[in-house]
């Protein structure tokens, strides 16, 4: 097989898994292969997919962000409190949407500043902000906030004709935008180069500190957007939104082609990772697997993801090595015949 084909398959192994898993369940799992269940999977994947994308971007710059699952509740919570309670007058829901995203971006900026500029370890730093925000949101929003205005629920709840959820369209739109950013912009290049080799990127004249901060800001923004979708879907803002989701976001990103060594991965793969996670729990639910067991099996999926990450690197190294040896031998015999 051609080297480039091999590497292409290796980098996009996630879509093979997605398709394989889908076909397998289409045959063996009852009521899996229906239009309704398929859109349902997409709808349920929309929220997770935003976290996976945010996590993926941060992993690309060789960091990680545990706090996104708390941002998911913190950003809409704070935005809604500002709009409905903290000010002497109420602000319209459209403003609440913008505020939600701004709060998410600011949380990302905070994380990014302390990781990239101050040099704190991303694991510890984002773990602390994860706990801080969860504590604050439990304190500030002891009971769920509801009802929410229609505008605020639109993204999470509305459907267009054909029973297609708006959330799914938004998911595809966001992924398309980020795929473009990664593949076709100078910013995307800088981001990937920073993760691939920070010192080399720095010497090549890239402001790597700013790139890492930008990655955290995007992760915060996407987490806030995920919060918007969650709140819209359940029609309320509850303090427990997002709990335990961050670990699966790692699984999605790594299954989707991100490498913990940084500099690898693209949104198209992360989408595959998110969809696989969504299909996985959907299929297990349909088969009536007990909910705690589903949780355990998701843990297994994370394990598999990291194993895949290592395996992928090993296979990649071996494929490249084989290629090198082959080329060396061909030039050696070439030289011999010349002599």
């Amino acid at each position: 097989m051609n080297l480039r084909v091999k590497l292409f398959l290796l980098d996009n192994v996630i879509w093979l898994l997605v398709i394989g898993f889908f076909l397998l369940n289409a045959i063996f799992t009852p009521s899996f292969f229906t239009w309704q269940n398929s859109t349902n999977i997409l709808y349920h994947s929309a929220i997770m997919s935003m976290l996976v994308l945010g996590q993926g971007i941060v992993i690309v710059v060789k960091a990680l962000d545990l706090s996104i699952e708390s941002t998911l509740a913190f950003a809409p919570g704070v935005a809604m409190l500002i709009c409905t309670q903290w000010l002497p007058w109420d602000l319209p829901s459209a403003v609440a949407i913008v505020l939600t995203l701004i709060v998410g971006a600011l949380v990302g900026l905070f994380n990014g500043f302390f990781v990239a500029r101050v040099g704190m370890n991303p694991f510890i730093e984002t773990m602390s902000t994860m706990i801080i925000m969860r504590g604050l949101v439990l304190f500030l929003v002891p009971f769920s906030i509801f009802p929410l205005a229609g505008v605020y629920k639109f993204a999470g709840q509305a459907r267009i004709p054909g029973d297609i959820p708006v959330a799914v369209l938004l998911m595809l739109l966001v992924y398309a935008v980020f795929q473009f950013i990664f593949g076709y912009t100078a910013f995307g290049r800088r981001l990937i180069a920073t993760g691939g080799n920070r010192q080399a990127a720095f010497i090549a004249g890239i402001n790597t500190t700013r790139m890492i901060m930008a990655a955290f800001v995007l992760a915060g923004l996407l987490a806030a957007f995920a919060g918007l979708l969650t709140a819209g879907r359940q029609g309320s803002i509850s303090p427990s939104m997002g709990i335990n989701m961050v670990l699966l976001s790692f699984a999605g990103a790594i299954l989707g082609g991100a490498s913990l060594d940084g500099g690898k991965g693209a949104p198209i793969g992360f989408l595959g990772g998110a969809l696989l996670l969504g299909m996985f729990s959907n299929a297990l639910n349909l088969r009536g697997v007990e909910v705690n067991l589903v949780y355990a099996m998701q843990g297994l999926l994370i394990f598999a993801a990291i194993l895949l990450d290592r395996g992928r690197e090993a296979i990649r190294a071996r494929v490249l090595r084989q290629e090198q040896v082959a080329r060396f031998e061909s030039t050696a015999t070439g030289a011999a015949t010349e002599v």
Binding site: L3, R4, L7, Y184, T185, A186, F187, R189, R190, I192, A193, G196, N197, Q199, A200, A201, F202, I203, A204, G205, I206, N207, S259, D261, G263, K264, L320, E323, Q324, R327
Partner: protein, 529 residues
């Protein structure tokens, strides 16, 4: 076949005097792509101080690493005390009482001086570590040498020079080695610590130990050694008693016959326009008062040993590690200092890092991405990459520098060392700077690529820009430079014009610069006071 040692006890003592302590017979070492050592023959007599000297890449470190059991020889036989050692591993070497003091001090940073000294020799009472005993013994050992270090102090709190001395003391007195190898141990020592090292060597030698002394410095070897073996291009040349040598004759042996290296001379004389003017650049503890000027079309070489400050100066100029004081002026620019490589690049100054893998390449990305990393602005509009322009420019670079790739979207990690280096040269070239700082551009590339890169530097890079390049050896610099500046201990000692190039004299100058710079620096300070 090798057991020439007599079996009886009396015979043993008799034999011990006459059998050489160490014999290497036709020892070779191949690394993938290079031959580090080719049929080297060395005979070290018991109780002598035996020097090993040679240019960079002559095989000095490989040779001693084989003796110390760190590398396994590809072929050849090794005799220690007259017995053939079929498989010389580190453990075997230790059993044969061979000890090595490596080039860079490798202490356990978090351990005390005493713990470092007795690492691998647990001093215990019963099953418990005898801390008092360790410190008492350490104290006694250090006093014996005359090294006034507190045994409780952590190794990380010592200077590099002191760390090195601790390792010297460990090898000489704690490990009780009979054959002691010093692999450029004096390179990281201060002047007074170096004196102490020489005293220790003399004392150990008198006590019957055999010493292998590797150094870059001609004057030091002549002072310390009884005999020296000269290595050249991985082969052992001759072993000569030091009494028959002086600095110039030894340097001539090291440099070898003036074999014709390809010279790449400038087609036209560098013009008068100064593209880079560095004045009084200083960074505390790294380099002092470095001034240099580069003209358009000129290649200026900086020669200096490891630790001379050549890399640090280039990084200071490029804004990667900001200097404390001094100014850098580019043609048509204001004098100042760059605080970030991005601003240096914008002003027209690009740096090629010596450490290709860690500082040069994004190895998980493609040739295209790496080639254009420093010129993203030129190949994008409103932040969006111009796909066709991008590909065209990369193809042009690949053609210009003759980079061997199967496809421009290929990952750079699959390229050979020389081609990787060309990709970085290409990246810098694409930024179209007026000044290139090339830090060891031929490091770790094979002979063919080396020639190609030197040719590129002379003919393509220097054509419309000014170049500063460094090299650990002189060969590259002699081949392409218009002038060579000599650095030692962070100071610019001398600048030699091409018309006055002479490898032997330059070699001596570079070696002695490291020692001389300190002394003249001290003299100057004295005069100012």
């Amino acid at each position: 076949m090798a057991s020439t040692v007599a079996e009886t006890q009396g015979g043993h003592a008799e034999q011990a005097k006459s059998t050489p302590a160490l014999v290497l017979k036709d020892v070779s070492k191949f690394f993938p792509g290079t031959i580090a050592l080719r049929n080297a023959n060395v005979e070290v007599r018991r109780g002598e101080v035996h020097g090993i000297i040679g240019k960079n890449g002559a095989g000095k470190s490989t040779l001693v690493s084989i003796i110390a059991g760190l590398y396994e020889a590809t072929s050849g036989t090794i005799f220690i005390n007259g017995r053939e050692i079929p498989k010389l591993t580190r453990a075997v070497a230790q059993r044969e009482r061979v000890s090595i003091v490596p080039q860079d001090p490798q202490v356990v940073a978090d351990f005390s001086v005493a713990e470092n000294l007795f690492l691998g020799h647990e001093v215990t009472r019963g099953r418990v570590v005898d801390w008092r005993g360790i410190h008492r013994q350490a104290r006694a050992t250090l006093d014996r040498v005359g090294l006034p270090l507190d045994t409780h102090i952590k190794a990380s709190d010592l200077s590099v020079s002191e760390q090195q001395l601790v390792l010297v003391v460990k090898a000489c007195y704690v490990d009780a080695a009979e054959i002691i190898i010093f692999d450029e141990a004096s390179a990281s020592l201060t002047h007074s610590d170096e004196e102490l090292l020489h005293e220790i060597v003399a004392e150990r030698c008198a006590a019957g130990c055999t010493i292998l002394y590797i150094s870059h410095r001609v004057d030091e070897l002549l002072k310390v050694c009884d005999r020296v073996t000269v290595l050249l291009g991985g082969e052992s040349r001759e072993t000569v008693p030091c009494a028959e040598l002086d600095e110039v004759s030894l340097a001539t042996l090291i440099v070898g016959e003036a074999f014709a290296t390809t010279q790449y001379e400038a087609e036209q004389k560098p013009n008068d326009e100064i593209v880079l003017d560095v004045s009084g650049l200083t960074s505390a503890g790294r380099y002092t008062d470095v001034s240099l000027q580069v003209h358009r079309g000129e290649v200026l070489g900086i020669a200096g040993l490891r630790g001379s400050g050549r890399t640090e100066v280039l990084k200071g100029i490029a804004g990667i590690e900001r200097a404390d004081s001094g100014t850098v002026t580019l043609a048509g620019g204001e004098p100042g200092l760059f605080g970030h490589p991005a601003s240096a690049l914008k002003a027209g100054l690009a740096y090629l890092p010596e450490d290709r893998e860690h500082e040069g390449l994004v190895s998980t990305s493609s040739v295209t991405v790496n080639c254009l990393l420093s010129s993203l602005k030129q190949v994008s509009r409103f932040g969006v990459m111009k796909g066709r322009t991008e590909k065209a420019r990369v193809r042009e670079v690949v053609r210009l520098l003759d980079i061997k790739v199967s496809d421009i979207s290929q990952e750079v990690s699959g390229l050979s060392g020389g081609n990787k280096q060309k990709v970085i040269v290409g990246r810098i070239h694409e930024a179209r700077p007026s000044v290139y700082l090339l830090d060891e551009p031929t490091r770790g590339v094979d002979v063919g690529s080396r020639q190609a890169i030197l040719k590129i530097i002379r003919e393509k890079v220097a054509a419309e820009a000014g170049v500063v390049m460094t090299s650990p050896g002189l060969d590259d610099l002699l081949a392409v430079c218009d002038r060579i500046a000599i650095m030692g201990h962070g100071r610019m000692v001398d600048i030699v014009e091409r018309s006055a190039f002479d490898e032997t004299r330059l070699y001596v100058a570079v070696q002695s610069a490291s020692a001389a710079a300190v002394r003249t620096g001290q003299d100057k300070r004295g005069m100012e006071e």
